[in-house]
């Protein structure tokens, strides 16, 4: 037990009032983020989209899969906001339900890739030497392939279907996370407070999880939002090629593929899914940009 304190140690410091703080950096981050108008609107749009996607089976005006041969290839109208396709299905409803598919495929695949990539990045940064070399070489190999080709290759091995699309995209997302987490972790690893933790006697596991990983979170989040955009695009491309979602799934890429034959006669079939893909991917990218600027500690206001 410690003996009581000698009275000559100054206690003037306790006179400073304690302010309630929720999280240290959140308020600062939010302030910066609010200033990025584009990113903010993207965030609002995406929140709305996610909300709609969750509720889509309920709010979609028409069924998504049953054909309606009396209303085939109709242009946009009040009854069918985006028109109908070759089977008479309402495109607008299909887009709403397709949002669900695209978003979940995008988010889940990148989440998986992020999890694996972050783990690899952390251990290769912390332990270095041969682990770093191996992970580095794997990364190099994966990076050498353009994403879509790699995805096609993996699908060729696993077979078509949305589930395998998720796996394929997850695999090719791993190296980008591994690389950025590694560099972020390396810089955190060299900070004095990590050294202080080691000097206290912390085990490696603790240092990685409690000190290094939190320092990399902001880079992970930014990369995450950026990758979702390209994941959605890749999933759509794979479905367009017939390797992803199988008919009659209302996945946006598959819808684009369906409209291929009618480009000149009924362009609305490709236009609206295409617009949906475009807006969603754009929104994710803008959000990512805004997040990066808001989270970057060097950009002071």
């Amino acid at each position: 037990m410690v003996k009581p304190v000698p009275s000559n140690i100054p206690t003037e410091v306790s006179s400073i009032p304690v302010k309630k703080v929720i999280a240290p950096n959140f308020t600062a981050f939010w302030k910066k983020f609010k200033k990025q108008k584009l990113a903010l609107s993207s965030a609002i749009f995406l929140s709305f989209l996610i909300f709609v996607a969750i509720l889509s089976p309920i709010i979609a005006p028409y069924g998504v899969e049953e054909p309606d041969y009396s209303h085939v290839l109709q242009g946009p109208s009040f009854q069918h906001l985006a028109g109908t396709d070759a089977f008479g299905r309402d495109i607008f409803s299909r887009i709403l339900v397709g949002a669900r598919i695209s978003l979940s495929v995008g988010i889940i695949s990148v989440l998986l890739g992020a999890a694996v990539g972050t783990f690899l990045g952390l251990i290769s940064a912390y332990y270095g030497k041969w682990i770093d070399s191996i992970v580095g070489r794997i990364n190099d190999v994966l990076f050498a392939f353009p994403g879509i080709l790699l995805a096609i290759g993996i699908i060729a091995i696993l077979g078509p279907g949305l589930g395998n699309v998720v796996v394929a995209i997850a695999i090719f997302s791993v190296p980008s996370f591994a690389r950025i987490v590694r560099s972020s972790a390396l810089s955190v690893k060299s900070s004095v407070y990590v050294e202080a933790s080691k000097s206290i006697g912390a085990k490696d596991r603790r240092i990685i999880w409690k000190h290094i990983f939190p320092g990399t979170i902001s880079t992970i989040i930014v990369n995450f939002t950026m990758r979702i955009g390209s994941a959605i695009l890749t999933a759509a491309s794979l479905s367009f090629l017939g390797l992803g979602a199988q008919p009659p799934s209302p996945e946006w890429g598959a819808m684009l593929s369906n409209g291929r034959d009618y480009l000149t006669t009924a362009s609305h079939i490709t236009f609206f899914p295409g617009l949906a893909i475009f807006l969603t991917v754009l929104a994710f990218n803008l959000l990512g940009d805004g997040l990066r600027d808001a989270l970057d500690p060097k950009i002071k206001d």
């Binding site: 100054p10 003037e12 302030k31």
Partner: protein, 335 residues
Amino acid sequence: MTERILDIQNLQTSFFSDGKEIKAVDGVSFTIHKGETVGVVGESGSGKSVTSLSVMRLLQDTPGKIVGGSIYFNGKNLLEIPEREMRKIRGNEIAMIFQEPMTSLNPVYKIGKQLEEAIRLHLGYDKKQARAHAVQMLKLVGLPRAEELVNEYPFQLSGGMRQRVMIAMAMSCKPKLLIADEPTTALDVTIQAQILDLMRKLGQASDTSIMLITHDLGVVAEMCERVVVMYAGKVVEETDVHTLFSEPKHPYTQGLLKSIPKLGEKVGKLDSIPGNVPTPDEMPQGCKFATRCKFVTEQCWKKEPQLEKISKDHKVRCWLHQDTEKVEETQKVGV
């Protein structure tokens, strides 16, 4: 009365961020005469560096702005002249050396080129003359192999050598005023001794006035003739160096002098100034030092004292020295 080189009058510089104004320099006035070395002493938040940047008008890339006062240099008010006229003065008549010799030289240009830039700009020499002048300046600051050095890059030099190059650059156009902002803080003690020695010799040889900004009272004692002590953006004491050390009047100055360990004089316990410099939100209404002063009174909290002359060459900003009657009535209130 020696000629006045620099006359700062009621300078006010504030930083604006998030809609708030932080008064970094709040009504600072002092003078520097020809050939004089004046020390500006203070700690973090005192405003000493911002004062020097204001004189050089180098605040454009910062959220800082000069909001009041005047700075007379050679008869002209620097705050009223256009930028292009100021550019002719910077590096030429007023030169500045910074704290970090590691980062104040451009790493991608050779040393000779950096020296010549200022020389050609202000003295109008041609290439050959400028090169010769640059070499001469390097020799003047005591750098060996000056002819070879002009072709080297900053990374090839040590900290002490880089600081010498900075001094060479600063002195190359024979400035009337040299502003040195913590020039030796980042250097080792033995190198610091060399650099201070050099600065003193050069200053004397060319009759250059020096504004030496530092937190190190030892450096002040060695180099300066007059000292200005700053605290929280204001001048709290101004006098000649001998008086400052033998009869400091402001409680902050007194506290500062008592709290530094002096070589050769080991004491059991160092006197210390309790507390910290208040943040801008916590600044007291009256005297800015009230939160830490041993002799604080009611009046100190309510009203801010002015910088008043208490003898021929000694100014203090403190209620204890304003009114002799009040001094007798003063009761010790506070920590």
